[in-house]
Amino acid sequence: MINHGYTRAISRRTLLRGVGVSLALPLLNVMVPAGARAQSPAVPRRMFGICNNLGVLPAEFFPAEPGHDYTPSPYLKILQDHRKDFTVFSGVSHPNVDGGHPSDISFLTAAPHPASSSFRNTISLDQYIAERIGSQTRFPSLTLAVNTGARSLSWTGNGVAIPPEQSASSVFRQMFIQGSPLEVEAKIAELDTGRSILDAVSDQVRDLERNVGPSDRARLDQYFTSVRDLEGRLQASKGWERKPKPVVKEPEPQDPTNPAQYMAKVAAMYGLVRLAFETDSTRSVTLMLDSVSTPVVEIAGATISDGYHNLSHHGKSEAKLAQLRIIDAWHMRLLADLFKELRGVQEGGETLLDRTMVLYGSNLGDANAHSTINMPVLLAGGGFRHAGHLTFDRNQNYPLPNLFVSMLQRIGVETGKFASSTGTMSGLEMTKA
């Protein structure tokens, strides 16, 4: 049994140790480019992008009929209580995003051919949002993952991955545990030192730039841009450092240590994200559920005999399919819990779910075949008039980036294009607010 008082005391000590120990660079991956300041919208809106990189069994997920009155598929039956709050899409995918497993990193970027040797990723949806409204919250964005080595859904504009945070308790501490005034001042001094260091190195870049040709200069420019980005980020962190952190009644979450406790890890992340939104600590979150790197999943009351990835190569074996159904159903149950929790929080006369776009899906339409078309995708909440089951051509898929454009517009970013989009998502309208 966990003694919460004890837990809190420890985390406090851990925090104290952190201060002054190392360069106080903000641990969360935030991005505040200079000059990117969108208008504060009247209603705060949020985005939560989740990718399960082994997807779900398509036959169990997609309903048959289109529109509002579809008969729920076995998986969607688990989400029945929230039926009016989400739209499920079929026949959608990212144009030219292929290559099987490596395509998870294109889930929120839609950058083509992620498995090719000359691949370069582009900005992800969450970072696009963070660049524009990120300065309004303590953390412009959160990049989270479960059971991954390094796979991330969040990518900067020059195609660099933002390493994901995998410890729910560590993020919790950064969001909610307040330091003493002395600690805060020490932290600010550290941030100032960081900026002085950046000043010193950026002056050197200018020197070097004079001595190199144009193509090499472009590489140095990238360094220079990074310096400026980091400076902006340190500056923003300094501002937030003086503001008190929000107080929550929930205890610090415990991180399951074993990757087999996959579902517990996912649930902890969902709980954390709900708190982050409820306290308006951030408005843009991604969560990579790296099922590919997940070993045999522990599920109470069920016998799972094989590693998750191996199960996904079920080769049509019924024994494997049965186990996949159990795992997939758990994913759906946790998602239903998340929707319920978000619906349970009120903000300005609406529920938190009304103001949070939850995008759930996978880069793989069918993991057994490594297929990247017919991606399973659903969008919940977020101020849309949900349309039940939106169907498109399963042979000639409809571009999924169009949904990202709709989401960007909903969050208040005025754009008509994202990656390979051709417009906004056809058949999905915003609510008025």
Binding site: S22, V227, R233, S305, K316, D366, S371
Partner: protein
């Protein structure tokens, strides 16, 4: 005859109208040739092969356009175009066309290279950054690579500027990594205990001398520890009727086990010893192998919960150990030694226990607060599956099962040498460091392992508990400063020295001034001397001067040459010898360069080159991307010894090619390889016992030898469940033969089916019946067909394994203790034909064909891969001449791999930007 370069599309264009060649040609006269010999097919209406030469202008600045013209050149010069069915142009005009095109392409590329160099500006990759920091600060134990964002990859390697991006994340990780490494260097200077030898007897080790009897909820007798004395059981000790240890038998007492590490459970750690300070230690382990009778230990199991809970007795079973009947071992067993901290463990060494007790000694690098774990890697790993007892020890026989007994662990250290404290000296010279008191603010905070509680300490019981607890003692924060009488003068001197060592070329005055200004600014803000210096050094180690490989177009100066050499052969910064040669302007002399290359290859740091090169060239870094299916391949499940040996085989093999200057044809086939017992068993090579990897001469008819049939390669080209001739074929074409294959058009991939009704071969045949698919697949599939004889872990197979519900599986038990679930399906067909005719029946014949026809291609590919890795730039059209020269120079030694490395270093490819 080029075997794989089959003609593109053969369109018998019967008509021969005149086509206007409108676009700007690559050289005067090219249009006439194109109109006469190419335009009948490659025109705007027929558009053969997707190519309209009448419209193709020469725009070499556009990379796609340049590549298209290179392709035109290659097809025509190889005699593939115009195709045989079409009229042959006069030899003279053909030669002229090829020469004209060569000159135009070379001319353009050379202009660009003269202006910019082949290689673009690049930063250090994560491997290089980690090694450079480790070497600079003498902190070889720090782990940095994993903290940096993953590097991009271009032309196969993490060495090319265009793929090595920088972002604010990257930059902040450099800063925090440098800061961390410097604090480690300081902490290892602060805590320098006198070297001691600590021996822990297994019977005194709390985490081993426990768990002797089944308990409720923990009834797996296979996971019990048990007392052993002189290879026999001690039932009284196990039952608790006798003392755990006695002075008379202390030296001979041991703790036995019959199972290996599973998940993160305890029972394998020597947690009484915690590494007090990072550094080098000598570890000794004493123990031997045993044989344990079967029959199990009677114990109660429970079913149900609450009121319904009922007990039942677990009866004797042959495959459960009887911990009260122990006998001398019947064979040797491999013992793995691991360092463990916060739930992570990393392998340190592997050796054998024998039936007779032996002391095994290794010297290892350990980090602060790590503990040592020992484990017999061959023993099975129980995995709970549904019911608690539903598994069988696969090593159990009718009369018992193997096990091991540990007597003691001894750790000696830290072993100090000239590198001890060198990082601190690099930072602070001879200035002393002191701990700050509670009321002295500031300073640099270090984390150290708290000393163990003194005997007689009133709180000893509590502290000892915390000290021994899971995860060990928490690291303790200590704040320190460095004492100086003349802070500014000392800082100026120290920063100058640090820059001179950190930067790989003479430091410009302006740069040094800037860092000194940073120090002064920090120092004036009342940050302590040490802290201000650490901040300054953080700036140095995050600055472009350290991060970027600076080279000017044209011939490299000696400093750049030293850096290229060090990054190529050591994956790190130049050492002092290279630096002084560069400073003296002597490094560029061919004989000096040869001698230095020899010295560096002979140095143990060249292993970093082998590891990093094979990580990318052969994808060894992806060895864990998939794990063997527990349905089809649970005999490989959790078999870490096999996986580790397979990786080591490939690395030692490549190292051997370099060390002994062996001919490049060894890549295809060799009469030797490197094996230990597990890998030899996997390959069916007799007579290899023990955990140690060694060079083994292969039996005459062995399918092994060369890289293609090594388990590591066969594993990274499979997905753990199935193999695909397409994927393996492409892999060999690209990695071994040096062809680039175009990505497939967007057609649905073949869906794997493990039910056994249809083989991948039959599915592919359907695929290949389609002419569009066949044009490429006839080239890429054959190597894959030859490798169909190897399963997902590189084991030989005559039949596929299949899985179907309701069919009786093969008898047998996997390493996890679960029964096999597969049965044998259709036979493997490993026959195929190369695109231009010669056919092969199996891998042996396929290798022979490659050796007969493709030896030069294999060598050329090796030159290309190595040169790309060494220079950070791909082999361009105009670089081909130099590649051919390197081949020419090394032909005498059969393209000896060491000669190839030497020739690359001597070539302009390497010596010019």
């Amino acid at each position: 005859v080029p075997l794989f370069l089959a003609p593109l599309f053969l369109l018998a264009a019967a008509f021969s109208g005149a086509f206007d060649v409108a676009a700007a040609p690559p050289f005067a006269g090219a249009d006439a040739f194109i109109q006469k010999s190419c335009a009948a097919c490659h025109n705007s209406s027929a558009h053969s092969g997707g190519l309209d030469l009448t419209k193709l202008a020469f725009e070499p600045a556009n990379p796609d356009n340049f590549a298209t013209w290179v392709k035109v050149h290659d097809r025509v010069s190889a005699g593939e175009m115009p195709p045989p069915a079409m009229p042959r142009p006069a030899t003279e005009s053909l030669t002229q066309f090829v020469k004209g095109l060569t000159d135009a392409l070379t001319g353009y590329e050379r202009t660009v290279v003269t202006e910019r160099g082949r290689a673009g500006l690049r930063r250090l990759n994560a491997y290089e950054y980690e090694n450079a920091i480790r070497d600079l600060l003498a902190v070889p134990w720090v782990q940095i690579k994993g903290k940096l964002p993953q590097d991009g990859e271009a032309y196969r390697f993490n060495k090319v500027g265009t793929a090595l991006d920088v972002s604010h994340i990257q930059l902040s990780r450099y800063m925090s990594s440098a800061d961390y490494a410097m604090r480690e260097a300081m902490a290892s200077k602060l805590v320098q205990p006198a070297p001691v030898t600590t021996r822990i007897y297994a019977r005194q080790e709390p985490s081993l001398a426990r768990n002797f009897r089944p308990r409720e909820g923990n009834t797996r007798t296979d996971r019990l520890n048990f007392p052993v004395l002189d290879s026999h059981a001690q039932p009284d000790v196990r039952a608790g009727r006798s003392a755990i240890s006695s002075p008379e038998t202390k030296e001979r007492e041991a703790i036995g086990r019959v199972s290996s590490i599973f998940s993160d459970a305890g029972g394998f750690s020597w947690s009484s010893f915690r590494v007090p300070t990072p550094g080098r230690y000598r570890v000794k382990v004493k123990g031997y192998t045993i044989w344990v009778s079967g029959g199990g230990v009677d114990h109660w199991n429970y079913e149900g919960f609450g009121q319904q809970k009922t007990a039942y007795l677990n009866g004797p079973t042959y495959h459960r150990p009887n911990s009260d009947e122990v006998w001398p071992g019947r064979r040797n067993e491999p013992i793995g030694v691991y360092a463990q901290s916060s739930g992570q463990s990393r392998p340190l060494a592997e050796f054998d226990f024998m039936p007779e007790p032996s002391v095994n000694e290794v010297e290892v690098l350990l980090g602060a607060n790590e503990t040592i774990q020992t484990d017999c890697m061959r023993l099975f790993r129980t995995r709970v599956n549904g019911s608690e007892e539903a598994y069988v020890n696969p090593l159990a026989q009718q009369d018992g099962m193997p096990g091991v007994a540990f007597q003691w662990l001894e750790v000696e250290g830290p072993l100090y040498d000239q590198t001890s404290g060198a990082g601190y000296r690099q930072m602070f010279g001879d200035l002393p460091m002191r701990r700050l008191g509670a009321n002295e603010p500031g300073g640099v905070t270090l984390q150290i392992v708290p000393p163990p509680p003194a005997p007689g300490d009133a709180n000893a019981a509590n502290t000892a508990g915390a000290f021994r607890g899971r995860g060990g003692p928490r690291l303790q924060d200590v704040r320190v400063d460095v004492t100086t009488e003349h802070p500014r003068e000392d800082a100026e001197r120290l920063i100058g020295a640090f820059l001179a060592r950190a930067y790989r070329r003479p430091v410009e005055e302006a740069h040094a001034k800037r860092f000194l200004a940073l120090f002064n600014q920090q120092f004036e803000l009342n940050h302590s001397f040490a802290k201000s210096l650490v901040s300054t050094y953080t700036a140095v180690l995050s600055s472009p001067g350290f991060l970027y490989v600076q080279e000017a177009p044209g011939k490299l100066d000696d400093y750049s040459l030293a850096t290229r050499l060090a990054l190529f052969l050591w994956n790190s910064e130049p050492d002092s010898e290279l630096r002084s040669l560069a400073a003296a302007g002597r490094l560029g002399k061919p004989e000096v360069l040869t001698a230095q290359t020899e010295r560096m290859l002979n140095d143990s740091r060249s292993r970093r080159f082998v590891d990093a090169f094979t990580d990318y060239w052969l994808d060894l870094r992806k060895i864990d991307d998939s794990s063997p299916s527990s349905t089809l391949y649970n005999d490989y499940e959790l078999d870490d010894p096999l996986k580790l040996a397979a990786m080591e085989e490939t690395r030692l093999f490549v190292q051997e090619l370099i060390a002994r200057n062996l001919p490049a044809r060894n890549v295809i086939d060799s009469d030797f390889t490197f094996l230990n017992e597990r890998l030899a068993q996997h390959y069916g090579v007799p007579g290899v016992t023990g955990a140690k990897m060694r060079k083994v001469t292969l039996p005459k008819d062995s399918v092994r030898g060369g890289l293609l049939t090594q388990a590591s390669v066969l594993k990274v080209t499979a997905n753990g469940t199935t193999t695909s001739p397409v994927i393996r074929g492409v892999w060999i074409m690209e990695r071994i033969l040096g062809f680039r294959t175009a990505p497939p058009p967007s057609v649905p991939a073949i869906e794997p089916d493990i039910r056994g009704a249809v083989t991948i071969r039959q599915q592919l045949d359907k695929h290949r019946a389609d002419a569009t698919c066949a044009s490429c697949h006839r080239k890429i599939d054959p190597p894959g067909f030859a490798l169909e004889s190897f399963d997902v872990m590189g084991g030989w197979r005559d039949r596929y394994r299949v899985f179907a519900d309701g069919v009786q599986p093969e008898p047998g038990i996997g390493l996890s203790g679960q029964p096999f679930a597969f049965r044998y399906g259709p036979p493997v067909d490993s026959a195929g034909a190369l695109p231009d005719g010669p056919s092969f029946r199996d891998i042996r014949e396929f290798k022979r064909l490659l050796l007969e026809h493709e030896e030069q291609k294999v060598a050329r590919n090796l030159v290309g891969q190595l040169a790309t890795y060494a220079t950070g730039a791909p082999i361009g059209f105009s670089d081909r001449k130099q590649v051919e020269e390197i081949l020419e120079k090394t032909r005498g030694s059969g393209y000896g791999v060491r000669n190839i490395v030497q020739s690359i270093v001597q070539s302009d490819l390497f010596q010019y930007k």
